[in-house]
Structures are given as structure tokens and as C-alpha cells.
């Protein structure tokens, strides 16, 4: 396994917001493994944080286990996508099982967004309405597409993106991890460029802070990633903070293609 921590810079922030009494979001970021996981739990009492906690932690640990001992050359996009799907499935089974066997967890579930960087690429898997954005060349782009009622209404032409901001149906997701015996994870792989900044967030951010302000914050504060993360959470809270808000920021600080990576290693050996 390549240690990715010299290629990726990571900053995280999470906050319960201004209305909720507890935080049902869970985040796990591992710069060494090149992995970021964010989950937004749902369910009564503390079941939401149990579900999101299982998803984030299980996927982080299991991904690391699967990557251990793998040579970088074995790690192609297809394999990375397979790993994400497989571990999301595992998390789904664990949450579903807990909710079936313990009444206080009945019906709990979670959204999920997992991103994994390898060989100058990023594979991202998601379920529900937690998102991944990319800032490239000063422009923010939403990479994942929500599995939500609202997104379906937008896709079908029923409402526009602008109208969606005023919708009352923001809280309905069409997919979640842990509510059914099976889960369908959407997984894609994208090429990565030096200087890209990736943002994983729960809907507590993008419901409270418009994309233009997220872009402005990331673009102006990219030199200080922890400050940028903190600033995004603060803006969500300043705008009302109606939900838990969590962000993971990842900056691609160095080229990490396997070819140059291996060459660099050889060079350092012979030096």
C-alpha cells in the first residue's frame, strides 16, 4: 500500500448545528490510505449516530484491511470501485442486522459518501444526499448526484434547481444504507489533477450555504485547509444551522500516479 499522506492534504470539521441536540453525522478521513468517508445518520434517539458511526468506521477499517499488502499496480479503477461497493454492502448488512435485532435501533439508516484516491484517480461511491464537490481552477462542481425526491423532480423537469431551494421536501432521500437487506451504491471514477480540492459534506452544509459561497470560501481559503473547513461549518451555523453539518476537505498536493510514484521510489533508493 502506498502511503498517500504526502500526496493528499486533509482537513475535517463537524458540528451539531444550531437546532439539533446531537450530532448524527460521522466522518472518517485517512490521509495515509487516501480515503475519506462521511455518513449522515437517521433514526430515533441516538440510532442515527449509531448507523452513521458503523458506516464510517467499518468502511474505513475494512478498506484499509483490503488495501494492506496490495501493490499499487493491482489497484486499478475497477478494483477500487469493487472495494467501495463491497464495503458499503458490508456496512449495510451490519446496520440492517443491528436494526433488526435491537428494537431501539429499528429503522435506523444513513447516507454515505466514500472517496478513495489512487493512481491519479478518485473513485467515489455514494448513497443518499451527502455530496462530493470538486474545486478545480476556481470553479466548484458537484460530482455526486443526490438520491433524493428533489433531485428526481429536477431531473424530470418538474422543478428547476432554483425552485428546489425553496422546496419543503428537502429531507427525503430515495436510498439509504441499512434500511433494507440490500443497498445500491452508485460508484464512479474520475481523473484527478494537481491542485484539485475535494469537499465531502452532509446536507447540513449545502442546504444552508449556497454553492457560490462554498466556492468563494474554498477558492479564497485554499492555502489554509483547516480554516476553510471551519469557515464552511461556521457559515452553515450563521445561516441558521438547522441540521448537523460536516465537511471533509482533501487537496491533491502532489502527483500520485503509480508510474511516477514507483520511479520516484527507485530514484530515492539509488541515491
Amino acid at each position: 500500500m502506498i502511503n498517500m499522506s504526502s500526496f493528499l492534504e486533509v482537513a475535517t470539521a463537524t458540528h451539531q448545528g444550531m437546532v439539533r441536540s446531537h450530532n448524527e453525522d460521522s466522518i472518517a478521513a485517512d490521509a495515509e490510505a487516501g480515503l475519506a468517508v462521511l455518513a449522515d445518520g437517521m433514526g430515533g434517539y441516538n440510532a442515527g449516530e449509531v448507523a452513521s458511526g458503523i458506516a464510517a468506521e467499518l468502511i474505513r477499517v475494512e478498506m484499509k484491511k483490503s488495501l494492506d499488502g496490495k501493490s499499487p499496480r493491482e489497484l486499478n479503477a475497477q478494483y477500487a470501485e469493487q472495494l467501495i461497493t463491497q464495503h458499503a454492502k458490508q456496512a449495510n448488512e451490519a446496520i440492517y442486522h443491528a436494526s433488526q435485532s435491537q428494537p431501539q435501533y429499528s429503522g435506523m439508516g444513513t447516507t454515505l459518501v466514500v472517496a478513495f484516491w489512487h493512481d491519479n484517480q478518485m473513485s467515489v461511491g455514494h448513497v443518499g444526499d451527502s455530496r462530493l464537490y470538486r474545486l478545480r481552477g476556481g470553479t466548484l462542481e458537484q460530482i455526486t448526484r443526490d438520491h433524493s425526491l428533489l433531485q428526481e423532480q429536477i431531473d424530470s423537469g418538474m422543478i428547476t434547481k432554483e425552485q428546489a431551494r425553496h422546496s419543503q421536501n428537502k429531507n427525503l432521500v430515495t436510498r439509504a444504507v441499512g434500511i433494507d437487506p440490500e443497498v445500491e451504491t452508485e460508484v464512479h471514477t474520475y481523473p484527478v489533477q494537481l491542485g484539485d480540492i475535494y469537499l465531502l459534506c452532509s446536507d447540513g452544509l449545502n442546504d444552508m450555504v449556497i454553492d457560490e459561497d462554498i466556492q468563494l470560501t474554498l477558492a479564497s481559503l485554499q492555502a489554509n485547509l483547516p480554516l476553510a473547513a471551519q469557515q464552511l461549518v461556521q457559515q452553515a451555523c450563521d445561516n441558521g444551522g438547522r441540521d448537523n453539518v460536516s465537511v471533509i476537505l482533501i487537496r491533491v498536493a502532489k502527483d500520485f500516479s503509480v508510474r511516477t510514484g514507483m520511479l520516484d521510489r527507485l530514484k530515492t533508493w539509488f541515491r
Binding site: 437546532v19 437517521m42 433514526g43 436494526s99 429499528s106 429503522g107 435506523m108 439508516g109 447516507t111 444526499d129 470538486r134 462542481e141 458537484q142 460530482i143 448526484r145 425526491l149 433531485q151 428526481e152 423532480q153 431531473d155 424530470s156 423537469g157 418538474m158 422543478i159 428547476t160 434547481k161 425552485q163 425553496h166 422546496s167 419543503q168 421536501n169 428537502k170 429531507n171 427525503l172 432521500v173 430515495t174 436510498r175 434500511i179 433494507d180 452508485e186 464512479h188 474520475y190 446536507d203 442546504d207 444552508m208 459561497d213 468563494l216 470560501t217 479564497s220 481559503l221 492555502a223 489554509n224 469557515q231 461556521q234 457559515q235 450563521d238 445561516n239 441558521g240 438547522r242 441540521d243
Partner: protein, 289 residues
């Protein structure tokens, strides 16, 4: 549940609850809200309700439909919107009692909406039944769970222009109405839509350069975030928040100085006429007006 209050020249005619998926307005007798007036088209407009949202759509009427004075083709109704058709006014009101009875905790909680088949198999507390309406207007026949993943979802999801034909807009229930679980989203209807803007805008502030090449120049702080300095050397950011303006160090080995005192890594509130020194330039912060 929301309702429509129909009135003419200030006097209320009747109240119409939006208890159907589709409520039609027009001059012909088959309309749910019939208005016998020549300024009203036979089939003038309709209101489609999906869970907590109600959509007003003009059905190609001759004289048009106004909402709060603006002509609309399609509009998501907000509490207290006033629809005007001819001389008639219809106020859209979200029932206040529904708001009072819903525990505040449940507001806006994320819930899973499932296809009717799955929902029937195992109803669960955190799960809302999929309304048949959700699938009906979509051009694709599939239930929500079967959204095809396009090769590049990154591209801005362009709204596909063709509006659903009227016949499909009337949601055809595909399954017997699923029982409403306690956590059904209906109460959320009362939660006010929250615009993502601070409640009270800050008074406009500006920086006046005191030294350096731009001495005398003024920079207005019109954005929520304004960065100052030289990237790679020294950068600070001024943030505009509901509580006021704050300055924070972003990058560089030297920290900005405010009124002769260097900042640490924490944000510092800015007061009228504070003097900031940054990258060798002095500037004054002041509130406009």
C-alpha cells in the same frame, strides 16, 4: 395540510383544503375550484401537491396567473402566497395547527422514501412511504429506487424542459395508499422555508488603504469573505457574519497586526476605525454610514 382561501374584492368566498394530489381551477364545472367568470379560462390552472410541497401551474390560460403580483407558469407555493386569477384572489396557507402538533425535533429530519413495494414489505419508523405522485410525473416509468446512473453525473443537472403532460401530472396511485407512519413528513410543511442568508444584513464596511502603492484607495467589503495580502507571502481574510466583521490569518509566517497587536491563529472581531497592518501595508477598517 395546506389550504387555499378564495376571495373576491376582500371578502372571503370559501376555503379549499389541498387534500387531493391535484386540484384544478377554472371556469368549467368539472374543476375542483370553479370560478364562473369570463376572465377565467375553462381549465385555468392546477395545484399539484406532493407531500409537503404544492406546485401551482398555469394550464395555458388566456389571461394568465399571478403569484404575489408576478406572472407565473409554474411556481412552488410558499406560505401566504397570493394567487390572482382575474379579480379573484387565492391565498395559500399552511395549516398552523399541523405545525403546533408536530414535535420540533422532527422538523426536516432526513427520511427515506421507498418504492411502494419495499415500503409495503417492511414499514419502519424512519421511513416515509413513497407517494405514488413522486414517480408519476417523471418521464421514466421506474420507481425512485431505479434511477439510472448517467456516465457523468457531475454536469449540472439540466432540467429537461418538457413539462409533464397534464394527464400524467395527475398522479395515478399505483398501490393502495400506504398507512401513514408517525414520522410522516407532512408536519414539516409548517417549517418555514429558510433562505440561506443571514437574518440581519451587516452594515456595509470598507477598508481604506493608508500606506503603500494604493494609499487612499477604498475597498468595500461586499462579500461574505474578502481575502487580503499576497498569496504565498501573507494572506488574511475578513469574514462578514451576523455578529459583525472578523479578521483571521490564512497563510504566511507573519501574522496580521490590528491596532499594534499581532493576531494569533484565532479570528478577531473588527471595530470601526481599527487599523490593520498586513504585508507591509496599513489600512483602516470602517463601517459605512
Amino acid at each position: 395540510m395546506a389550504k387555499i382561501i378564495l376571495s373576491l374584492e376582500g371578502s372571503v368566498i370559501r376555503e379549499i383544503p389541498l387534500d387531493k394530489d391535484r386540484v384544478t381551477i377554472g371556469r368549467k364545472p368539472q374543476n375542483d375550484i370553479q370560478i364562473e367568470n369570463l376572465a377565467v379560462s375553462g381549465e385555468h390552472a392546477c395545484i399539484v401537491t406532493i407531500l409537503a410541497d404544492s406546485f401551482l401551474e398555469d394550464l395555458g390560460s388566456t389571461n394568465g396567473t399571478l403569484v404575489n403580483g408576478n406572472q407565473v407558469k409554474k411556481h412552488i407555493l410558499q406560505n401566504n402566497d397570493v394567487i390572482e386569477i382575474g379579480k379573484y384572489k387565492m391565498k395559500y396557507v399552511i395549516d398552523a395547527t399541523a405545525a403546533a402538533s408536530a414535535p420540533a425535533e422532527d422538523f426536516e429530519k432526513t427520511m427515506v422514501m421507498r418504492s411502494p413495494k419495499a415500503a409495503a414489505a417492511a414499514p419502519k419508523p424512519a421511513v416515509a412511504p413513497a407517494p405514488p405522485a413522486a414517480a408519476a410525473p417523471a418521464p421514466k416509468p421506474a420507481a425512485p429506487a431505479l434511477v439510472p446512473s448517467p456516465p457523468k453525473p457531475a454536469a449540472a443537472p439540466a432540467p429537461t424542459p418538457p413539462a409533464p403532460p397534464k394527464s400524467t401530472a395527475a398522479p395515478v396511485p399505483t398501490a393502495p395508499a400506504p398507512p401513514k407512519p408517525a414520522a410522516a413528513p407532512a408536519p414539516a410543511a409548517a417549517a418555514p422555508a429558510k433562505p440561506a442568508t443571514p437574518s440581519e444584513p451587516q452594515p456595509l464596511a470598507a477598508l481604506q488603504m493608508l500606506t503603500g502603492g494604493n494609499a487612499g484607495k477604498e475597498i468595500e467589503l461586499t462579500k461574505n469573505l474578502t481575502t487580503l495580502g499576497k498569496p504565498g507571502v501573507q494572506v488574511a481574510v475578513i469574514t462578514r457574519r451576523p455578529q459583525g466583521y472578523f479578521i483571521t490569518h490564512v497563510e504566511g509566517t507573519t501574522f496580521p497586526v490590528v491596532n499594534g497587536k499581532a493576531l494569533d491563529s484565532q479570528a478577531r472581531a473588527l471595530n470601526d476605525h481599527d487599523v490593520i497592518e498586513l504585508a507591509g501595508v496599513k489600512m483602516e477598517f470602517f463601517l459605512k454610514k
